[in-house]
Symmetry: C2
Subunit: 357 residues, 2 copies
C-alpha cells in the first residue's frame, strides 16, 4: 500500500494499514518534513524519495491532498502505476476527479472522518473505525480492483459505501459545505453589527457559539472544497436565500400561526435528520437530557464516571457555561430510551436537576 500525502488523513491511513491490516506501507509527501514526521510516528515501512519510487509496484495507492490538487495527482499516479494497482483518493468533492480520470484502476473515495484538523500529530490508526467511507465506482471500474480496495478499507475499520459522485456532492453540499458558509456569514454579520472598534460581543449563551463553531475552517483545505463543489453549493445557497426570503415574508406578515408552523416543522426535521444521521440505522434513537450543574473542575468527571460505571455511554455532550463559567447546563445525548432513563435516574441521584429535553 502506498500513501501519498502524510497529514492527518494520509498518516492515519498509513498507521491503520500497518497496524490493523498488516500491510506493508510506503509513504511519500512532497514536504520532506511531513514525510519524516510520519516515519517518526511509525506510520511507514518505507519513506519514498519520489512519487515514482512511492508508486513502484504498489497494489493500492491512496492519495491525500487538497481537492484542487487531486485530479492531476491521480492522473500522474495512474501513469506511474502498473496495470494491477488500484488508485483512490480521499477528497471531499468527487465529480471532477471522477470525470477527469476515466481509468478502470481509479475509484474515487471520501472517508467521513477527521477532516477538520490537519497534521500527522493528530493521526491515529483507529480514525476510520466505524466511519462511512464513500466510494464512487463507475461502470468501467475493474471489479477485482474495487473489491481489493473495499477489503482494505474494511480492514482499516471503515464502512465502505458506494455512491455516485453526483449524489455525494449534493449530499455533502447540504450537510457540510453550506453549514460552513452560513457559519462564516454569521460571524461576519455579528462583527459588522458590533462595528470595528473595541465593542465586545455580549455574553450570548450557546446558540451563537454552536452556530459559528466551524466558521473560518482552514482555507488551505476549505477553499478548494468550496470551489470544487461550487456549482452545487451555489444552488444550495440560492435555495437558502429563497428560504430566508420566505421566512422573512412570514415574519413581516406577522402571523403567529405561520411562524409557529415554520418553527415546529424545523423541530420535526431536526429530530428526524439527527436521529437518522447519528444512529445510522444501527443504533437506538438518541435521547437528550439536560442537567444543571456547577461548572467546577471535576463535575463533568463525576457525572461521566457515574454513567460510565453503569455502562451508559454518552454519545454526545455539550456544556453550556454561565457567562462567568461558574456553572451551567450539560446536554447529554444517550442512545436508547432505557439507557436514557437510567442516565436520568443516576444524574438525579447525584443531586443535579435533570430533565429530558
Amino acid at each position: 500500500v502506498t500513501i501519498v500525502g502524510l497529514g492527518l488523513i494520509g498518516g492515519s491511513i498509513a498507521l491503520a494499514a500497518r497496524q490493523r491490516a498488516g500491510a506493508t506501507v510506503t509513504g511519500f509527501d512532497p514536504d520532506q518534513g511531513a514525510g519524516a514526521a510520519a516515519q517518526a510516528r511509525g506510520a511507514l515501512d518505507h519513506l519514498a524519495a519520489s512519487l515514482a519510487e512511492a508508486v513502484g509496484d504498489a497494489q493500492v495507492a491512496l492519495l491525500a491532498a487538497p481537492v484542487d490538487a487531486l485530479p492531476g495527482l491521480v492522473a500522474e499516479v495512474l501513469d506511474l502505476a502498473g496495470p494491477d494497482c488500484v488508485v483512490s483518493d480521499v477528497g471531499s468533492v468527487k465529480r471532477a476527479i471522477v470525470a477527469a480520470n476515466p481509468d478502470p484502476r481509479f475509484v474515487g473515495g471520501h472517508p467521513l472522518a477527521g477532516a477538520e484538523t490537519a497534521g500527522i500529530e493528530q493521526a491515529r490508526p483507529d480514525l476510520f473505525v466505524g466511519a462511512t467511507w464513500y466510494l464512487t465506482p463507475v461502470a468501467r471500474t475493474e471489479g477485482i480492483l474495487y473489491e481489493r480496495l473495499h477489503r482494505l478499507l474494511r480492514s482499516l475499520g471503515a464502512r465502505p459505501a458506494a455512491i455516485d459522485a453526483e449524489t455525494h456532492d449534493r449530499l455533502l453540499a447540504v450537510v457540510s459545505h453550506l453549514p460552513h458558509v452560513l457559519a462564516n456569514v454569521l460571524v461576519a454579520q455579528a462583527a459588522g453589527a458590533l462595528g470595528g472598534g473595541d465593542e465586545r460581543l455580549p455574553a450570548t449563551g450557546p446558540s451563537f457559539r454552536d452556530a459559528t463553531r466551524v466558521a473560518g475552517a482552514p482555507s488551505s483545505i476549505w477553499t478548494s472544497i468550496y470551489l470544487g463543489n461550487r456549482d452545487v453549493l451555489v444552488g444550495e445557497i440560492d435555495r437558502a436565500i429563497e428560504r430566508l426570503g420566505e421566512i422573512r415574508a412570514t415574519l413581516a406578515a406577522g402571523e403567529p400561526g405561520a411562524v409557529s408552523a415554520w418553527n415546529d416543522c424545523a423541530a420535526r426535521d431536526r429530530r428526524r435528520l439527527l436521529e437518522a444521521g447519528l444512529a445510522g440505522g444501527e443504533h437506538d434513537a438518541l435521547h437528550e437530557l439536560r442537567a444543571s450543574v456547577p461548572n467546577r473542575p471535576g463535575v463533568v468527571a463525576q457525572l461521566a464516571l457515574e454513567l460510565g460505571r453503569a455502562g451508559v455511554n454518552i454519545v454526545d455532550m455539550a456544556l453550556y457555561p454561565a457567562p462567568d463559567m461558574s456553572e451551567g447546563v450539560i446536554a447529554l445525548w444517550i442512545a436508547g430510551a432505557e439507557a436514557a432513563e437510567q442516565a436520568q435516574r443516576l444524574i438525579a441521584g447525584l443531586g443535579f436537576p435533570v430533565a429530558s429535553a
Copy 2:
C-alpha cells in the same frame, strides 16, 4: 418581592431571592399547577391566588411570561402596584414593552440565562450567578427604584448592565434570533435535499449538528420572540441574504484568492467575537485543544478528572464522536495560555494525542 410566572426563569428568581437575597417572596402563576410546583420546590414564602393579591404592597415585582404577553401584563401590574414598587420583566425583546409602559416605576429587563429550557423542574437559585442581566432604564425611570432593582439583581448573583432597548434588540437579533432562523433553514434544506421518504442523512461529523442544535426551539417561547423583534430581525435576514449573494458571486467567479480572503476574514471575526464574548474582559483569552480519544464510558471522566485535579477548569467542551460512536475528538476550551499548556501536557501524559487548534 413578587414573582409573576413560575417557570424556569421565574422559579429561579424566586429561589435566588429567598436563598441568596434573603427576601420574602410571593409568587403567582395563572397555571395553578405551576404555582403549586414552585411552592413544593420551596421557592415561595407565599403563593398568591390572584394577580392583585400577589402585587399587594410588593417593593419589587418581576414578571416572567412570553414576550407577546408581557406589555399587557406590565400595564396590569403597574395599575395594581403602589407608588413605591419597581416593576420589571425578563423578556428577550425590549422595545415594545418599554414603549408601551412609560411609567417611572417600570424598568425593562432581560437576564441572559436559561432561556432554552422551560419549567420549574430546571429552576435553581444560582442560575443567574455571573450572568449579564440587561436593564433598559429611560430618562423618566425613578432613580431610587432603579437602584433597588439593581441591588436585588446583584444579590441574585447577576451582573446588571444598562442598555437602551434599541441596542439590546439589535444585538440579540444578530447573536441569538438570526442564528435560530439559520438553523431552522438548514434543517429544512437538508430535509428537502433528502426527500420525504426513508432516505437517511449520512454520517456527517459535527458541523451539521453544531449548526442545527438550536433548530426548532420551543414555539411557545420563540414565536413571540421572532415576532417581537421582527423589524430588526427582518433587517438582519436581509443582510444575511446580501452576504450569501456576495459569497455566491465570489464562488461563481471561481477565484481562489477571493474565497480564501472571505474565509480567513471569518476565522479572524470568530476568534475576536468569541474571545470577547466568552471572556467578557474579565478572563484570559480562550485556547482550544483537540484530543483524540476512544469514546468509551469513562474516558471523558478520566480526562476531566486529570485536569480537575490540577485545578484546570474546562470552560467549554465538545465531543465529536466517530459515526459508530466508538471514538472521537474532544475539543476543549481553556482560559489562559498557561492553563492551556498545562492541560495539553496533562492530556498527553494520559497517552492521548493532543494538539492546540
